[in-house]
Symmetry: C3
Subunit: 346 residues, 3 copies
C-alpha cells in the first residue's frame, strides 16, 4: 500500500520537490516520522524541528522551501494540504452497507439501500435516510426526521422528530439534536411548559461534536447553516440561527432566538445571551460573555486575567469598589485643577 509522492502531489495540487517515486504510507509528526511517513510544517515550532526529522517527505509552505533539503510538497496552504494528504492516507473505515439485524426500523421509514444502519439503532415512522448515510450503533432517529446523503452519525446520537440534517454532515457520539427548548410561562409561582414544536434544520457539511445539544424551535426552527462546525458539549437553545461557515468551540452556550452571522468564530466556553444578533465575521475569544448585539465585524472579549490566588484576592475585592474609585478619582482631578488655577492666579 502507500502512495507515491507524485500521486499525492497531484491529488492535493501541491508542488513536488524531490523524489516523485518515494512511497508514503502514513502521516506523522516531524519528531516521529520515518522514511515512509510524511510530516508537515505549519508553525515556528515545526520549522525548528525540520533539521532533525527523518520524515520521507514534508509538507511546507512554499516560502519555507529553503528550510529543508529532503522531499517536499509545497503549498500556499500547508494545513489544507496536510488535511487532504491525511484523508488520502488514512481514509475513514466505511462500514458495509446494510441494516443490522438488531436495528428497529418502523415500516413507515424510508431507508436508502446504500445506507449503513448499526446495531440497536431505532428509526421511527416517516423518517427518511439518504444514500450512503451511516448511522452508528444505538442511535435514535425520530419520526419524519431526514438525513441527507452521505451524512454520518456516530453511535449514540439522538435526532428528534421532524429534524433535518443536510448532506455530508458528521455527528459525534452523544449529540442530541431536537430536544425541547426551555420555554415556560409563569402562573403564580409555578412554571407551565410552552409546547416546543419547531424543528432543528441543519445544512450540508455541518459537523456536530460529542454530547452537544441543539434544541428544536419553539414555533419556528432552529437553523444551523451550511458548513457550520460545532465542537463538544455546546448548548444551542431554541430558535437560534447560525450562519454558514461559522465555527464554535467546546462548552459554548447560546441562549434562545439569537442570530449569529456567517464566518464567525466563537472560542471555548463563551456564552451568548438570547435575543441578540451577531453580524458576519465576528470573532469571540474564549470564555467571553456576549451580552448585547454586535453590529461591527471584529474581535470581542470579556473576562479577568489569570493571576496567583494571593494577588487575585487583593484585586478582586477592588472590583466591587470600582465605581467608588472612579468617583474619587474624578473628585481628585477637580480638586487638583482648582489648585492649579489657584496657583496660576498667584
Amino acid at each position: 500500500m502507500g502512495i507515491s509522492l507524485a500521486e499525492l502531489a497531484r491529488r492535493c495540487q501541491a508542488e513536488l520537490r524531490g523524489d516523485p517515486g518515494r512511497i508514503i504510507e502514513r502521516v506523522a509528526t516531524l519528531e516521529r516520522a520515518g522514511p515512509a511517513d510524511i510530516a508537515f510544517v505549519v508553525d515556528a515550532r515545526h520549522r525548528a524541528q525540520l533539521s532533525d526529522t527523518s520524515a520521507g517527505a514534508v509538507i511546507l509552505h512554499a516560502r519555507d522551501a529553503g528550510l529543508f533539503t529532503g522531499n517536499m510538497l509545497l503549498s500556499q496552504n500547508p494545513r489544507l494540504c496536510y488535511a487532504r494528504v491525511a484523508a488520502i492516507l488514512h481514509p475513514e473505515a466505511k462500514p458495509a452497507a446494510g441494516i443490522h439485524a438488531t436495528a428497529v426500523i418502523d415500516p413507515g421509514a424510508v431507508v436508502d439501500g446504500s445506507a449503513t444502519i448499526g446495531a440497536c439503532v431505532v428509526i421511527e415512522a416517516g423518517a427518511r435516510i439518504g444514500t450512503n448515510v451511516v448511522i452508528g450503533a444505538g442511535s435514535y432517529i425520530g419520526s419524519e426526521a431526514v438525513l441527507g446523503a452521505g451524512t454520518r452519525l456516530h453511535p449514540h446520537v439522538y435526532v428528534g422528530s421532524r429534524c433535518r440534517l443536510g448532506m455530508s454532515c458528521i455527528v459525534h457520539a452523544g449529540a442530541v439534536i431536537g430536544s425541547d427548548g426551555f420555554g415556560f410561562a409563569q402562573e403564580a409561582e409555578r412554571w407551565e411548559k410552552i409546547p416546543q414544536f419547531g424543528r432543528v434544520v441543519i445544512g450540508n457539511d455541518v459537523e456536530i461534536g460529542a454530547n452537544t445539544a441543539i434544541d428544536r424551535g419553539a414555533i419556528g426552527d432552529t437553523l444551523i447553516g451550511r458548513g457550520v462546525k460545532l465542537d463538544n458539549l455546546i448548548h444551542i437553545a431554541h430558535n437560534v440561527e447560525i450562519g454558514e461557515d461559522t465555527a464554535i468551540a467546546a462548552c459554548v452556550g447560546i441562549a434562545g432566538s439569537t442570530r449569529i452571522g456567517r464566518r464567525c468564530t466563537i472560542a471555548g466556553q463563551a456564552g451568548i445571551v438570547g435575543h441578540i444578533e451577531i453580524t458576519d465575521d465576528v470573532h469571540i475569544t474564549g470564555a467571553t460573555v456576549v451580552s448585547h448585539t454586535i453590529r461591527e465585524p471584529g474581535t470581542y472579549s470579556s473576562g479577568a486575567p489569570l493571576e496567583t490566588y494571593q494577588s487575585w484576592l487583593k484585586n478582586a475585592v477592588r472590583m466591587r469598589q470600582l465605581d467608588d474609585m472612579a468617583r474619587r478619582l474624578k473628585k481628585l482631578e477637580q480638586k487638583l485643577s482648582m489648585f492649579s488655577e489657584g496657583g496660576k492666579v498667584e
Copy 2:
C-alpha cells in the same frame, strides 16, 4: 380538525373578542400566521408587528386590546394563555401503550400495563414504572428506581439504581440521573474513591434537559423539588438540594451539598460553589459565579463586560493592578487633603 375560537377561549379562560366560530388549526408567529392560525403578543416587538399580521386570531394582554381590530383572546397572562392554546392545538404524540419486543425488562421489575416502553430499553430488577409512563428507546432504568405516573423519558436517558422521579416529569435525551458524585479521600498523592450510595430524589412536574447530569448523594440524597425546571448540559453534584419551582438555564454547574431555595432563577453558565446556601427568590444572572451563601432575596451578578479585543487587552491588564491603584488613589487623597489644610493655614 381545528378548534373554534370560542372553545379555545373557554378552555384557556381567556376573554374572546371577535368571531367565536373562527376555526383555528395551529399557532404561528405574527409574521407567518394565516387565517387558520393564532398568534400571540407578549412584547414590544410583537406589538409593532400587529398591524401587518394576517393571523386569524391573536392572543393579547387585556390592556393591549386597543392595538388590534381582528379576532382576539385577551388574558392577564398572554404567555400562559399561549402555552395552553399551543398545548391544545399541538398535543404531543402519545405512543401506544405496550412494551417493545426488544426491551429488556427484568422479571423483578414492575411495569404498569398503561406504560409505554420503547425499543432497546433496559429495566433492572426491582424498578417500578408507574401508570402512563413513557420510556423512550434505549433508555436505562437501574435496579429499584421508581418513575411516578405520567413521567416521560425521551430516548437515551439513564436513571441509576434506587433513584426516584415523581409524577409528570419530563426528561430529555442523554440526561443522566444518578451518576456517582465526585468524592475522593487523599492518601499520600493518590485519590481513593469514597463510595457514593445516596440517591437522586426528584419531585413531581420536574423537567430535565438534554445531557444534563445529576449525581446521587454520597450518603444522603440529592433532592430536586417539585416543579423545578432544568435546561440542557447542567451539572448538579452530590447532595445538592434545589427548592420547588426554581428554574435553571443551560450549562450551569452546582457543586456539592449546596442548597438552593424556592422560586430562584439561575441564568445560563452560572457556577455555584459547594457547601453554601441560596435563600428563596434569588435570581442569578448569566455566567455569574456564586462564591458564598446568599441570605437576601434579590438579583446577583458577577463578571466583566464585553468590549473589543483591543480595548479589553488594555483594560484586563489593569485588573491585575487594581489593588495597587486603590492604594495609590488613597495616598493621593491623603496628600491632597494635607495640601488643602496647608493651603488654609496660609
Copy 3:
C-alpha cells in the same frame, strides 16, 4: 450481616476505642445514625454535632478523640478511613459474569470469560475486554479498543476505535471517549476537516464522569495519566495530556495540545486554553480562565466577585474604563509631585 467494629478497625488500620464487638451495618451521617451505624467527623460542623449523635460508632481524627465518649475508630486520615469503611459496608453490586443475550459482539472481539457484558452492548471487531470488566447496558466499544482488567463502564458509555483504558477504571453514563478532535483547515471561507486518527490512552485507576467527552488525538494520542479523576461534563480536546493523580471538577474545558502536570486540581468550570503547559502541583480555582503557561506550582485564579446586580451594574461599566483610570491616576501623581516640589522650593 454487619461487621464488628474490631474487624472494621483491622481492615481499615484504624485504632479502636470502645466495644470491639459492636456490630456495624452501614454508614450514616451523625444526625441520622443509629446504634448499628457508623458516622464520621472530618470538619468543624461535624465536631459540633458529635454531642447529639446516636451513632453506634464514629470515625474521628486521632486528635479529636477527646470530643467523644462512645465507640470510635481513630485515624490520622478520617476521610480515607471513612472511604474504606463505606466500601466494606456498602460494596458495589457486582453483576454476574456473562454476556447478555442482546449484546452484539463481533466474532473478532476478544472478551474475557470473567467479564460482564450488559444488554444491548455493541463490541466491534478487534476489541479486547479484560478480566472482570463490567460493561453497562447500551455501551459501545469501537474496533480494536482495549479495556483493562477490572474496568467498569456504566451504561451508555462510548469508547471509540483503538482507544485504550487501563485497569480498574470507572466510567459513568454518557461519557464519550474518542470522539474526533475539532481540527479544520481553512480554504477560502470554508472549513475542511483534518482527519483525526490518534487515540485516547487512559492509565489505570482513572475515573471519568457522566457526559464527559474526551477527543482522540489528531495524529498522536490524548493521554490521561494513572489515577486521574474527571468529574461530569468535562471537555478534553485532542492531544491534551493530563499527569498522574490530577483531579478535575465538573464543567471544565481543556483546549487542544495542552499539557497538565501531576497532582494538579482544577475546580469546576475552569477553562484552559490550548497549546500551553501547566506544571505539577498547580491548583486552579473555580471558573478561572488559564490563558498562559504556568511554570510555578501554586494556586491561580481569575474572575470577578459576586455582588448585587445594582452594584454590579455600576462597577462593571468601570471595568471598560480601567486603562483610562490608570492613566489619569498616574497623571495626578505626577501633577501632585510637581506641586510638592514646587512647595519645597518656595
